[in-house]
Structures are given as structure tokens and as C-alpha cells.
Amino acid sequence: MSGPARIPGGARATIAFTFDGVAMRARPGDTLAAALLANGVGLVARSFKYHRPRGVMTAGVEEPNALVTIGTGGRTEPNTRSTDVFVYDGLVARSQNRWPSLKVDAGAVLGLAAPVFAAGFYYKTFFGPPKRWMRYEHFIRRAAGLGPAPVAADPDPYEHRAAFCDALVVGSGPTGLAAAKAAAAAGDRVLLVEQDADLGGTLLSDGGDVASIEVARAAIAAAGGRILTRTTASGLWDHGFVTLSERVAEPGQPGALAQRLWQVRAKRIVLATGAIERPLTFAGNDRPGVMLARAVRTYIARFGVLPGKRVVIATNNDDAYRTADAVAAAGGEVVAILDSRAELSAVATVAKTRFPVFTNAVPVSTQARATGLTAVEADIWTERFTYAADCLAVSGGFTPVVHLHSQGGGKLDWRADIQAYVPGATLQDIVTVGSAAGEVEAISPDTVALAHPKSSFIDFQNDVTAADVDLAYAEGYRSVEHLKRYTTLGMGTDQGKTSNMAALGRLAGAAGVSIPAAGLTTFRPPYTPLTLGALAGPDGGGHAAPSRRLALGDCHDALAPIWQPLGLWHRPRAYSQGGESLHAAALREARAVRTAAGIIDVSTLAKFIVSGPDAAALLEIVCATRVAKLAVGRGRYTVMLREDGMVMDDGTVWRLGETRYLLTSSTGGADRMEAHLGYARHVVASNLRVSVVAVQEAFAGIALAGPDAAAILERLTGAAAPAHMGVADAMVAGVPVLILAASYSGERAFELYPVGDAAVPVWDALIAAGAMPYGIEALEFLRIEKGHIVGGGEVDGRTTPHDLRLERMLQKGGGFVGASALDRPALAASDRLQLVGLTSPQPIPEGAMLVAAGGAPVEGHVTAGGLRVLGEGGVALALLRGGRARNGDTLLATSPTRGLEARVTVTDPVFYDPEGARYRG
């Protein structure tokens, strides 16, 4: 037995590649599978569970066996089908799931232990004594599996693109080409996609009207269409939306672009996706040398490789007879054609004049040596025969590729003559043509009794045998979806493309029902595996999310702060100096604010201009506090509720003119607040005469705070500082600024809003005047000490105004969003989580649980922990059950996972200047 070999003649093998370190040569246009076969490599991989030797079974994307790892370093792509890689110079391929080598594999002993690893092995082990799983786990994790994912980063770029077309044609076989040509002739913009490197589909292996390829190409080009090869329609979604994955470079191949993911919206879709040949089920049907009949003639006709010198063909249909012709024409010997049908068909009758054709004949088992297949045992009528052979070509009929049709919501119809599902009704503008629509050879539906179900494989990739299916059924798994999950049948990179129908047949047989009655698992995208790189596209690394840069970004960069991501923004967390820790820097900055003056970039606050005759009315719908009585030039704190009465956000509202207001709210809630204002304006109160403009990015903002703040401002503006909650217009460093006298820190403070990109001179002038820049960590210290709530901390979506001690601010008459929800009795319960302050001689761990003592029930949690900025000891804000009535209680704040705890005393949530003397100035 010499194994597969190149047929004399044809192109020279000029391409150098390696497989498991061995240098080999390939012809241009070879798939890796073709090149391996041409180099006499029959054994390509070890199977997933039992480490059984496996070879190439197919010539397409459905390959379950011959998975390899391609490439090196960051370009490594594991679990790649060798039938779906076109060889290039320098390709490096490695076999998987074997140790120490492919030929001598220690894991193959698992095959001997196969009975232990039968269907449901994992579940049974889980339900067994825990120690059993602990013992197995380490061993199994190493033994079973596919190729490991690469560790290094992928150096090559990926791209996303959008496209639109009148007609999307998937598949370029004869019917796909005809459909594309017809659409182009009708003036449609056509997009023709083909997963192979070449157009033609079965024309490439079976011949036919090969000239139609160029005719279609010209017609599509003339009508302004596009053809994409090496492109798989991987998902079909609603309303004609299709995702395509294009291999610009082959797996592992360096290139200017690795892959492109297309998002296509098509007015009309033609699916010419073909059909996948099914294997037959018998003992040892997984051995290298057992191949699909159509694959055998593809290797002969397209790649010039004869997969075996002595070929046995086993079939239940007429299509495989073409393989006999191809083998004979290529110089191989057709040892026998085993036809399971009882009667000779017309095609078989003709073939019988040239080949030994047997009816009522089925393969029973195979024999093999390390070099490959040696013999096929067959039952013919009632006698058993053994044929010496190095290749067994099998055909169990054809399964139309209905994946995309089904993904798009289309129904499937059962066809008994081909024992397969075909596309049925669809609500989308999708038509399926050719063999994908069921135009395939009819087969004999007779099932064959298996002599050795335990070595008769149904799902090759997942090592699921006929006996596993039987066992699952016997153990009560009746639904095909349950069978799938119990046995792992139809999972993995091939998603059961070659195995699903055989599994359904076996399950239906066991249940004594028809295959349609047994059900069908759901087809989900992607049709073939997508790489994560293609999905991420250009949005990786630093581009994983858009980055929003502050107008004052350069000023911060110059101070090299510790940054804090906040949504898509990055804000300075602290300006550490001379190797200071974050904590030390923040404390220094906070002390500067309490004793002199500090400035902080508050540009990211959400800002809305609300104007028009009914501006106040709209604000009183969105805000739970009174707005209408606000005087021009004054502002106030406000709070916004969700419709369920929970606090959504807080902020300030300023009356800039008679009918013109500025509303600010939190950075993190900016997008939500914009949508909420839109909802209020256009849905809840669409009769109001008011406009809302989001101006978050129109103004930078700098908050100046501290006992020296007013003096600094007056020096820079040459005018008196506005009173607390007052508004002023002024010039700072030649820049016009809007000044809002609001304080978050608890000190006398002003928010300065220069216009857009003119913010830098204002920042520089404030620093020159003696203000120290501080970050949001210092701001945390300051606001905790003042008991100011924050979104995501105390405002956690479960707290009402009453829980947060804000109920006295609410409009008395209601009429605002969330008002009616506040009357629900449960919200008045005395044991709700309510805002409290905590004090302790030591730091209070943020996020800690509040308990009476270790082991006691949890009564609340610490939402924010800080220190007294100028004094000693820890302070914190917390949500505590019935907290408003618990001043003086002592509790334990404990975080066992971090090993932190502190004894705390419950207080009012204001630790600094409770009279507010300091911020009024």
C-alpha cells in the first residue's frame, strides 16, 4: 500500500510548506489537504476524545477530521480545516491533540478506555462523588480537545465594511452562476460570494459548462456588480442582512490585511449553497483512507491527486458511480462498488459493464496499519467478503446546505427520497436554487443493522458513535436538542455538517419514528468558524472603544496624572508628584482645596440648554424639584427620578435668561439623561413650546474651589465673585466664561465654563493664580465628607428621594416623572436601605457589608469610604436598613473577601461644615 499520490502530469509543485516540521511541496492552487495527500500523508490528526488516527475525509468546509494549527506566533490559527486552506510559500502546519507525536500518541490509550467515556460521561462524573471529578479533571482537560489558542497578539490588521446590493448570490456553482448572470442581465447590482478561492463549485471537480464562469463574471462586471472569492456568507439575519467573512490572506499568512468582515443589506438573496455528501455508518468508518466519494474525485480532477491505488466505493445512490469513472481514468483500480440498493439502477447497469458492481452490498468494517487503510470487509447479500484496498470512497447521499435559509427564519420541508431537509417557506425575499434546494441524487432510505455500533462513528469530530446515540436514547434523551447536549453531537467547528442527518436517522430508528418526528437542531450563525480577529475588526487594542478626549487633555498630559476611565472619557484621578501614591496625592490635593484653592476639570458633566416659553414647565416634569420660581441669574440643586420613582441622577439647574435654562447632570448618566429629556419633550409633554439642546461637548468646564477661590476669581476677572448659586459672565485671560457658583466640595466654589477650545488659557491662568489641580479621587474625599450622593454609589437605581434624605426638595403637587410611583406603600417601609453616615477611628472599607457582629445578618453596605481631609479617622456613606432612625448605632463594616473590617458608628451623612457656612463664603 503506497497511499495517495500525485497523478503524473500537471503543474510543478513549486510551493514550499511544512507539516509537523517536515518540508513538503505543493502545487499552486492546492488546498493543504490536497498537498498533504499528494505528499503521501494519510494520517493528519488525532480525534478529539479517543485520539483515534484521522485523515482527510472531505474536500470542503465540512471537514470534521483533518483539523490543523496553521501559522506561528500571533498568526497562529488553531483548528483550521486543512481542506479550507490554500497553500502558500512558507505555510507552517502542525497536527493537534497528540503527544509526543502524531504517529506515536500516548493519548490513544483513551481509545481502549472508550467505554468509560461514553455519552454523558461529564454529567455522570459530575453527579458522582466529588472526588472522582477532581481526579479526572486534570487528566481530561489535557487529553481531550482541539488546538490551543495563540498567546501572542495578532500582528495583522482586520477590517469591517458595509455593502448594499440588489441581488446577493451565495455560491458560484452552476446554478449560482446562472442566477448571478440572470440578475446582472436584468440590471441588478449583483454581489456574488464564493467561499472557495475559485468560482465554479462542482464545475471544478465534475466539469460541465466551464465557460459559464467567465460569461457570468463578465455579465456581473458589466452591470456594476462585485464578486468576492474566499468569502463565506456566515450569517443571514432579518430584513436581508447578511454577514460575510472574507479571507484576504490565508490563515497564518502575513499580509497587509488578514480578513474583512462585510455587513451586507441585500434586496434579494439567492442561495446556491450546494449540498454536503454524507458518510456511511459502519465499524472503523473514521479511519484515514475512508473518504467521501465526491471528495475522492475532487482530489483527482481538481488537484491531480489520486487518494488511493485500490479503491472500494460504497454508496446508496448513483452519484458515486462518477467517482468510479474518475478513479479509473486517473489510473486507479476500482476494486468493488458496494451498492446498498437491492436493484441495479440505470447508472449502475452501465457501470457494471466496467466495474465489479454489487447490489445489497454494504461495508461492515475496515482494517488498517499505521500507513493507512489495508482492507474493507463487506456484506454482499448474505456473505462476507474482504477486499484489499487503500481507499474507501463512501456516499450516503446529500444534505442540502439550508443553513442560511434557516437562519433567516425560513421553514424546512422533509424530503423522503433524499432523506434530507430542503428549504420551505420564507418571509424574506430569499430563493434557494440547485442542489441546496434538493436537486440531488435520490438515495435508498434503507437503514443497515450495525454489527459494531461502538466503533461506528456518527460524529467524527466529537467522537460520537452509534452506540452513544443509542445509550443517550436509552437513558431518556428523546429530544434531538437534548441528545445534542448530552453527547456533544453536532457541536464543534463543523457543527455536524456531515453527521446531523445520520444522528437524526439513528435517533429516529431507536424511537421507532420518522426523522421529521425526531426534530432538528437549530442552525445558528456562523456557517463556518469565524476568527475573533474578524469579529473585532479594527476595534481592538486602544481602539476597542472610542476614546473621548478632554479639551484640557494637553494640560493634564503635561502633569502626567493617574488616569481614570469613566465611560468613554478618561479623567485625571490624581496628579501624583515625585512618586506619591494615589492615596497620598489625593489627600494632598483635597487638603489644598480645604485650606487654599484647587481646580478640577469638570468638562464631562452633562449639560443641556433648555429654552422656550415652556422651558420651566418641561424642567418641572423632568426634575423632581421646583424650578419655576428660580430667579434669573440663580441656580439650584435638583434631582431627576425614573418612572418607578427611583432616583435616576442629580445635577443643577440654572436660569440664564427669562426663558433659557442650563441643566447639568452627571458624566456617567449623560446619554441616559439626553434620551430621558427627549422622551419627556417628545412623548410625555409634546405640547410644550420648548427646545432641548445637548451641549456637553460645547463647553469645557473647570471648578475652582477653596477658601481662596473667591479672591482668585476676583483677581482674574476684576469683578466681584457671584454669591453661592449665582451666575455671572466674565473674562478670564481674555476668554469669555460663564461662571456658576456651585459647590460640590463643600468649599466656596465656582464652575467656569469657557467656550470650547479656548479653555487652556483659563486653566493656565488659574494655576498661575495659585490653584492646585486636583483629580476625581480627591473629589471623592471631599464629597463623601460633605455627604453628597453620586450616581453608581448611593444612586444605585434602588433608592428613592426619601431613602437619600431628599424628600423635602420634591415638588409638593407632584406632576413630575416618577411622582405617582412614590406613593407605593412598600416605598414607605421603615426597613428600606437608607442613606447614613459612618464614622470610625480607622479607614472604612468601601463595599463592605454592615453587620451587628461577625456572622450576623447583613443590614446594609458601605457605598463610599474616605477619610476626614483635615481631621483624623475614617468617614463613609452607606445604605443601611432603616438607617434614618439609627444614629448612634455601632456596627461592623466587614469585607471578608479582602480581609478588611472596621467598627463604625452611624451618624448623619454630613461630616464637615453641616451648617454650610464655608461654601456660602
Binding site: D238, H239, F241, G409, A675, V683, V684, A819, S820
Partner: protein
């Protein structure tokens, strides 16, 4: 991904829009509390045609009523919201 035919912008991808709620979950300010809570929490969740409020968030920002089939995802009509 749905294709939503915005009356202002023409057919656009779903990713430009934000789903807000079904029309029966809109709570007018004057709605009595008990009814308001029913509208918020006890909704129909139909298997079939559903009238929904969508926001063309990354487009013209119009608030739209989309009549959509919850099983087939077919869209029968897209019109501007009017109370």
C-alpha cells in the same frame, strides 16, 4: 439586524435606533398611580404585532412608532410619534 424605514431618513440599520418601549407602557403624567404601575410592570408582551416606540438616536432623533411582528420581525409601518 432590522432595517427600519425612518420617515425622515429612509431605511436605516437598527443600530442607529434605540428601542424605548411598547406604546401601552407610556405613562402620561396625569395617569392614576395604580394604572401607571400597571402600564410599567404588567404589560401585554404580545406574540404577534406590537406597536413600539423607537428613537432614531443616531439619526434624525425623531421618536417613531414602529409596528413590528415579534415572531417574524416583519415591520408593517414606521411613523412619527403623535400623542
Amino acid at each position: 439586524m432590522l432595517s427600519i424605514d425612518c420617515p425622515h431618513c429612509g431605511p436605516r440599520a437598527q443600530s442607529e435606533f434605540a428601542y424605548d418601549r411598547t406604546l401601552d407602557a407610556i405613562v402620561p403624567l396625569a395617569m392614576p398611580p395604580a394604572e401607571a404601575m400597571r402600564a410599567l410592570y404588567t404589560r401585554a408582551n404580545p406574540r404577534g404585532w406590537s406597536d413600539e416606540l423607537w428613537h432614531h438616536r443616531f439619526g434624525c432623533r425623531a421618536w417613531l412608532v414602529v409596528r413590528r411582528h415579534t415572531v417574524t420581525h416583519a415591520i408593517e409601518s414606521v411613523i412619527g410619534y403623535a400623542p
